[in-house]
């Protein structure tokens, strides 16, 4: 059982600020998903949450649990590695599917497939 009240004030402040920053970035990313026009622009917005957003949440978690000394802080590093390695796969799949669709339908200004240039 961890007691957040045992945390020194400075650390509680830093943890809270990091959490707010991470949550704020995820929120701005979702807002961008709503606001930006077109598929290829929208796909950029959620990466805010998966990069610096998740990074600051993980930093907050590392600080919190290592100060309370409840467990080793390596979990967060693993989470970061898994995020960095898996997000490009999903993004590339989405982008290539959209590109394929746009080329078949000849809609929008997408570059021609390689080899036809």
């Amino acid at each position: 059982m961890t007691h957040a009240a045992d945390l020194p004030v400075w650390a509680a402040l830093v943890v809270a600020l990091l959490l707010l920053l991470g949550a704020g970035l995820a929120l701005v990313g979702s807002f961008g998903l709503l606001r930006l026009p077109g598929f290829y622009e929208r796909v950029h917005a959620p990466t805010l949450g998966t990069t610096l957003g998740i990074g600051s949440v993980l930093a907050a978690s590392m600080l919190f649990f290592s100060l309370l000394q409840t467990r080793f802080v390596l979990h967060e590093i693993l989470i970061a590695v898994f995020m960095v390695v898996t997000t490009p796969v999903a993004l590339m799949l989405l982008a290539r599917a959209a590109l394929y669709r746009d080329r078949v339908e000849r809609s929008g200004a997408v570059p021609p497939p390689p080899g036809s240039r």
Partner: protein, 163 residues
């Protein structure tokens, strides 16, 4: 040895990450992690990836530092674009073709991770016969500038590590 343990480093990494995830080094966790590491390295061997050769790892700390700095910088830039008053405005999104000299699959994968981890750029397509990569950039000011950034900031150092 190679037949029992085809990818010793990968197996060791799998075992270590399993122990970290399980949060213990009890005999049970080591046994299960060892089984997973063996199965993982056999699965990888059946995919027959080209062997990874790492050269000049001294470049790595500087590269990681620059990636972190670039992640923060591009996050701020994209937040400004999203919250900016005019979404269309003077900003011009677009595709850039970037000719790459790097052929190592691991190096290309690392480049894809870097470009995706920096908001504002998305790796769209790679053509292995021509060696060109198609990048979508949220705020495309100058195409030649992006080619220079990708080639000089990332590709050159990744080639030093992987090729």
């Amino acid at each position: 040895m190679r037949r029992i343990l085809p990818h010793p480093l990968i197996a060791l990494g799998l075992l270590l990450s399993w122990l970290v995830l399980a949060g213990s080094a009890s005999p049970g966790a080591v046994l299960l992690g060892g089984a997973i590491a063996l199965a993982g390295s056999w699965a990888l061997a059946s995919l027959a990836p080209p062997r990874l050769r790492l050269r000049r790892l001294a470049v790595l700390p500087g590269l990681l530092r620059d990636v972190l700095a670039e992640v923060v910088r591009s996050n701020v830039a994209v937040v400004r674009i999203i919250l900016g008053r005019s979404v269309a405005g003077t900003r011009r999104p677009g595709f850039v073709h970037i000719p790459l000299d790097m052929r190592s699959p691991q190096g290309l994968a690392a480049l894809a991770c870097i470009l995706t981890a920096t908001p504002g750029t998305v790796w769209v397509e790679y053509d292995s016969t021509e060696g060109t990569m198609l990048l979508h950039v949220l705020d495309l000011i100058d195409e030649a500038e992006w080619v220079r950034i990708v080639k000089e900031r990332w590709e050159r150092r990744l080639m030093e590590i992987f090729e």
